[in-house]
Each structure stands twice: as C-alpha cells, then as structure tokens.
Symmetry: C2
Subunit: 184 residues, 2 copies
Amino acid sequence: MEEIHLVFARNLKAIREKEKLSLEKVSQLSGVSKTMIGQIERGESSPTLTTIWKIANGLKVSFSELIHEPQPETEVIFGEDIQFLTEDHGKYIVYPHFPFQKDRRFEIYRIEIEQGGTLNAEAHREGTEEYLTVFDGELIIRIQDRDYRLSSGDAIRFKADRPHTYINPCDTVTRLSMTIYYPR
Amino acid sequence: MEEIHLVFARNLKAIREKEKLSLEKVSQLSGVSKTMIGQIERGESSPTLTTIWKIANGLKVSFSELIHEPQPETEVIFGEDIQFLTEDHGKYIVYPHFPFQKDRRFEIYRIEIEQGGTLNAEAHREGTEEYLTVFDGELIIRIQDRDYRLSSGDAIRFKADRPHTYINPCDTVTRLSMTIYYPR
DNA sequence: CTTATATGTACAATATAACGCACATTATGT
DNA sequence: ACATAATGTGCGTTATATTGTACATATAAG
C-alpha cells in the first residue's frame, strides 16, 4: 500500500501542471505558502486537514480528486514485497495481501501459524465477519467456548464481532487465507 | 462556512459513539495516540493526512464519511454573519454568501463598490465564467480592452479565464451579485 | 462505603507542518 | 549576450500536531 501522502503529492502536481499553474499561483489561490505546496508535491510533508481544505478550495477540486489513487485493472502482489506482521513471539505471521480500501468492504490476509502458535483476537466491529480457508495443517477456532477444528481444505465463516482465538494444535505449520468483511 | 476540522471532529465522535468505542479502542485500531484522538474530537487539532488515513482505516470508514457535512435542505445566510473581504483600500467589498462546495460547481458573492472603486482581477482557471447582475449604481467591466457599461437591472456573462477589471464610474455605490462557475 | 477498573483530559516533551526569506536555476525579452 | 523576471528549492524560525505520562472523574465490583 503506497503512502497516502505520496498519492496526494502526485495528484496535486498533476492537477497543477494540467492547469499550467506555478507554485506561486497555487499559493495565492489557496492561501498556503509556496514552500509548503512544494514540499507537499515532493512528498516531504503530510498536509494538515485545514491546508488540504485550502488547497482543494483554491484549485476548485474535490477532496477525493486529491486523494484518489487510480486503480489499475489488474494488480499483482508478490509475497516477497509484503511487509508482514507477527504475533505470539513470531509464531503467528500475517501477510496483508489486500488491505482495506474504502470503496471495497473487505480485506484479505494470508496467515501462517507455527507449531503451537496461538492468537487471541479482540472483537471486531459489530457485524464483522471472517471467512477462513485452511490450506495446510490444522486449525482450531475458539469462539465463545466452542471449538471448531479444521483441516487442510476446510473453511469456516463466523461473526467476528466477539473475541475469538486461533490455535495451531499440531507440530506442523498451519497456513490459511483470511477474508474480513465489514458491513455497511 | 464552518471550519472543516470541526466537521471532522463531529463526524469522528459520532462514528465512535455509534460503534460504542472508547478513545483507547480507536487508538489501538488506528495506531494514533489516545490523546490525539481526543484533541481531534474536541476540534483542538487539525489532523495530518496520514493520521486521517490511519483513523479511516482503523474505523473502516471512507474518507468522505469523516469530512462530509450533512447539508440541510434549507439554509439561511444572514448578511451580518458573513465575514467580508475588502480590496482597493476598502472601496471594493466582497460578501461570500455561498463559497465553493466540491459537489457544486459554482460560488455566489455579493459585491459592493464605493465611488471610484476599482479592482483588477486575475484570470481564473480555463473555462471559468462569471455571471453579474447589477442591483444599484453603475458598473463598467473591462475585458481585453473592451468596456461594458451596466446600470441597475442589467446583467452580463463573460469568460473569466482572462484578466478583467471592475470599475464604479459614478459617485454612488454600486451593488451587484456575482456567480462564478468552474467547469468540469 | 471502599477498592479497582475504565474512560476522558491536562501537561510537558518531541516531531514536524507551515511560513518568510534568500538563493539557484531556468525562461523571457531586448 | 545581457538584463529581467519567473519558477522551484534550501534554510532558519515559528506554530502546531503528536506522543507518553500523569491525573481526574466516572463506573463497576466486592
């Protein structure tokens, strides 16, 4: 996921050049200093909400035009490029393949749990659902004192707006796909 | 026009309370400090683009949900409440009745020009148009060496993407309505 | 009532956004 | 070529966004 302020930077510069405006002109139109406009365009600064507003008004463009990242029709994410996260002393590894995007309502992760690895997850927002598919090993999902044991090839859907626990009961690694859906 | 960060503040607090989340929880979800969340909600801070992003992601809400100001069906603007601007040593007074809004494409001002008042306006963006209606006095609009003289009751539309000048040639005040339209 | 826990605010310290000015470089005109 | 203006960047200063800790108040538990 590209840094948001770099998206902003690129969009701002594109709009400015499309309108054939100088930094000075944008500065006058928006009431934001020329220096700051330059820094923002170069991605050296993450503008404040009020300055974003000033710029949007000065340029007569919508907020979303400035933060919109053009989505390619096809997108490839290579595993080695993903910045993963770990829990439970490195035994629980999360690969965020498709993080949340405002216009979608879900995000997709890949999870690896080493032998004996465990993770206690807090309750998510009301109505949130999780969809898990196990690819390798065994997985126990504990939800409200109920245990569900899944093997490779199994899948489960459950309401994630309550605490739940992921457990790898075996001595082999467990690998699974996780999709989280946020309603509304 | 209400300050944008106050709109953000209200929306954030509304969403948080709707979800029954504490400041602490929002902090964990977003990775922004509890203190900062509190300050933003109280309108004491104008958050940075990156923190706006963090909050939007943590709460799984769209950017626009946080900056959207619910528009009442009917809105009354009292002249005395308007913060006016002056040019030409106070002889040219601007009352911004309906400033630009992203989803609209125009803004409406009321202008008063004292006797002998003059304003040289820079060229606006390509395609911009102005619609003027004179209510009192006389007005001369100078566009590319052409003078257009208007009296009370007259109106004019012209392309404002070039320099133009407003002149009150009389010894009485000139009052007019100005609508600026931004294409695309 | 007392103790513990949670929730929101006040405060001091730090990081960084924002500004004004000066500089280097590039266009523009004569 | 030269002067002039315009454009974008570097720098020091100021303003403020952000954080962590401590505090106050409320809420729940015993």
